[in-house]
Amino acid sequence: MPSPEALLTRELGPDRVLTSPDALLAWECDGFTVHRSRPRAVVLPETTAEVQRIVTLLHGERVPFVPRGAGTCLSGGPTAGPDAVVIDLARMRKVLQVSLVDLFAVVQPGVVNLDLTSAVAAHGLHYAPDPSSQSVCTIGGNLAENAGGPHCFKYGMTREHVLGALVVLPDGSLARLGGPAGARAPHELDLIGLFCGSEGTFGIATEITVRLCRDQQSIRTLLAAFASMRDACRAVSDIVAAGLVPAALEILDQATIRAVEASVYRAGYPADAAAVLLVELDGAADVLAEEAEEVRAIFAGHGALRVEQAQDASERKRLWKGRKGAFGAMGRLNTDLYVLDGVVPRTRLEQALDGIAAIGARHGVLLTNVFHAGDGNLHPNISFDGRDPEQTARTIQAGREILQLCVDLGGSVSGEHGIGSEKIDHIAMMYSPTDLEVMARVRAVFNPDGLCNPGKVLPNRSACAEVAKWPQMTARVLDAEAGRP
């Protein structure tokens, strides 16, 4: 019997089936570098029909498989075990249709988020969800993660912008969920709403229909520096309480500001500020003038040390440069960066940040914070040396405690990065075994054999095996944790 690899090569040719250990290195992990594992093979399909043939073949051979976009996920979602084949969708990057009348586009899953906006920009349109990784990450990955981004405060997450998808189910059959006439037909379930955020475990989206948004007439970007994080958080609360709905409300703490200012992402942020708050307003020009004044008054009320307002597009770009490059800048502080993603009610931000600082100090880890303040979506980031098992263990433990804090404050263990393999143990902080069992029943409808992206999202036996694939030290920490009374 030919091996699955041989059968795949027969389908796609040798150039699009990678099996040599060196070639597979690039698929060893995603942005969550703690979990590394080299897949058995990587295949590079270009059409829905090819994806269907690959999945049918692997399903028939009982070989697990993992869809992958750009691999920028921060929770281990596209990282495959050594027995699994990665189905890399990066070559499926055609914009198939754009409707300038009904404002939607149909794209292949490998289309890069920002490329879609570039493709429609000349028509005064854009694709609203804007993860900070948008110059690299794909629409398929965004759909699977229900990705967010700074402008999701006003415009909503990926789900709000997805109308439908053509999906290759894990047995190789096709399902068309939703469509341009609406995400849900009146006599059907919201299957695309459910698929969105399923982290590659419900099947592979090969054509995605997304909404396009008309560009706003005008944009105002303001940056305020504060002497304390408390002032910055309270300014956010007041902006929201005033009924203003900025497009984005982002905060960077002092450690992040300093990392940014010392990097190529330097944006001219005041390095002595305890926090900077970036507020972007969009809409009609005359309205923005009024709203910017209101925001400035709120800044002043909280003793802003300095306020800047972008005067043109290049200044706006500069103000955003530091925010968009924050992860990259922090990545320079050590060899590895653990990006956390907890959510708290916006009114508990101050309390959460105090608690996070205490956890960081207790574990002696280098913590920085950059976050979507409007949504209460925190990104505490721990810079660490992944080669040092002891440091890695402290990092993982601090991360775990931070997420528990978010849950204790009434929030969530993930606002946008997903559970993947990273938080497979942490999801039980939010949900009871019954809640997880109900989710497992739903997953089994799509993925009854568990072949599609196994060991992700829900803890189960195979998930334990998955955790064991993490570096030894991490596994030991989790074991010790599990053994605690």
């Binding site: 229900n146 459910l194 959510v343 009434g410 989710m439």
Partner: protein
């Protein structure tokens, strides 16, 4: 016979003691849209009517499913907030039926406003899905299955909802001076705006075609839209549904904004029609033959639709569902309600 538990605990107890097949109902206003319930008992959630929490600074709330929409609106308006989607009845009914969708193209709809829920499977097993905060991607979003499920997958007991601040200025408008194609063209144009009307609908009645809606935001944006599109100020007037015909049938569907003109052109003479800004529409027909013909044509157009009023056996019949999606829907029903108790 109708069962009406007084609180969520009683609801769970009632389900655990297995009373057999059940038809869930909120206030009961949309029940006529479902196929007949046969021997199933009616389980009415009207007494689960507590607004458990409104967190004004966070713009979220938790309500029991029997809370009437009007009661929540009243409580929210006092705090300068609103639930920014159309629809009436009880909140459980509104979300489970989702028969109006969004009021504007791309605007908030029940599916976007439902953050999470506390639910019960048909056997009384309690579960939670989603969260109370405005953003969470932890786990699979089982709660999104409530939307449009018409109470046939599980019983929602409590809903966690996202709210929005009430706009500083608003004005309703009406254009009744246009013929069908011109009104449809204006409807499409308004859907394409960077700031579309907060609510809009295209109606056809025996009196003619009219476009109605609500502009919201700042006074200057409202004024600018009124001037740019000659949107004459009018009294607030929103219609969730066309009136159910005494004889004949009623179809509900979904279409793209630019199909408004095609829909108007397809309408049988004398048929009432309303299309909401979010793309949902309703129309009435004189009976099965016309409805079947229309369903066929709507499918050819790329629109979706189904019968929501008519002879019991015809309710729910609609444009064909994708076979893969249909298999998944059946699988979900089997997975969540294996004994088919919720009808």
């Amino acid at each position: 016979m109708s069962l009406a538990p007084a609180n969520v605990d009683e609801l769970g107890e009632l389900l655990r003691t297995r009373p057999g097949r059940l038809r869930l109902c909120g206030g009961g206003s949309r029940q006529q849209r479902l196929p007949p319930r046969g021997d199933a008992l009616e389980l009415c959630c009207r007494r689960l009517d507590r607004i458990e929490r409104i967190d004004a600074p966070d713009q979220t709330c938790t309500v029991e499913v029997g809370v009437p929409r009007a009661a929540l609106d009243e409580a929210l308006h006092r705090l300068g907030l609103e639930l920014p989607c159309p629809g009436g009845g009880t909140l459980g009914g509104l979300f489970a039926a989702d028969d109006v969708g969004a009021a504007s193209w791309g605007g908030p709809s029940p599916r976007t406003l439902l953050l999470g829920l506390d639910g019960l499977l048909a056997d009384g097993t309690a579960f939670r899905s989603g969260a109370r905060v405005v953003k969470s991607v932890a786990g699979f979003d089982v709660h999104k299955l409530l939307v449009g499920s018409a109470g046939r997958l599980f019983v929602a007991a409590r809903l966690h909802l996202r709210l929005k601040p009430r706009p500083r200025a608003e004005a309703w408008f009406r254009r009744d001076d246009l013929d069908g194609p011109a009104a449809a063209a204006l409807f499409t144009t308004l859907c394409q705006q960077a700031i579309p009307p907060a609510a809009m609908q295209l109606r056809r009645t025996p009196r003619g075609v009219e476009l109605r809606g609500r502009l919201a935001g700042r006074a200057s944006t409202v004024r600018a839209a009124q001037q740019a599109f000659a949107l004459r100020e009018a009294a607030a007037d929103w219609l969730d549904h066309v009136a159910a015909p005494t004889a004949g049938e009623c179809l509900a569907g979904g279409a793209r904004p630019s199909q408004a003109a095609d829909l108007l052109a397809l309408l049988p003479p004398g048929s009432d029609f309303v299309m909401h800004g979010g793309g949902r529409f309703e129309l009435d027909t004189d009976g099965p033959a016309t409805s079947d013909q229309l369903l066929h044509r709507l499918h050819a157009l790329g629109a979706t639709a189904c019968i929501v009023h008519g002879a019991p056996a015809r309710r729910g019949l609609g444009t064909p569902t994708d076979p893969g999606a249909a298999r998944l829907a059946q699988g979900l029903a089997r997975a969540l309600d294996p004994h088919g108790l919720l009808v």
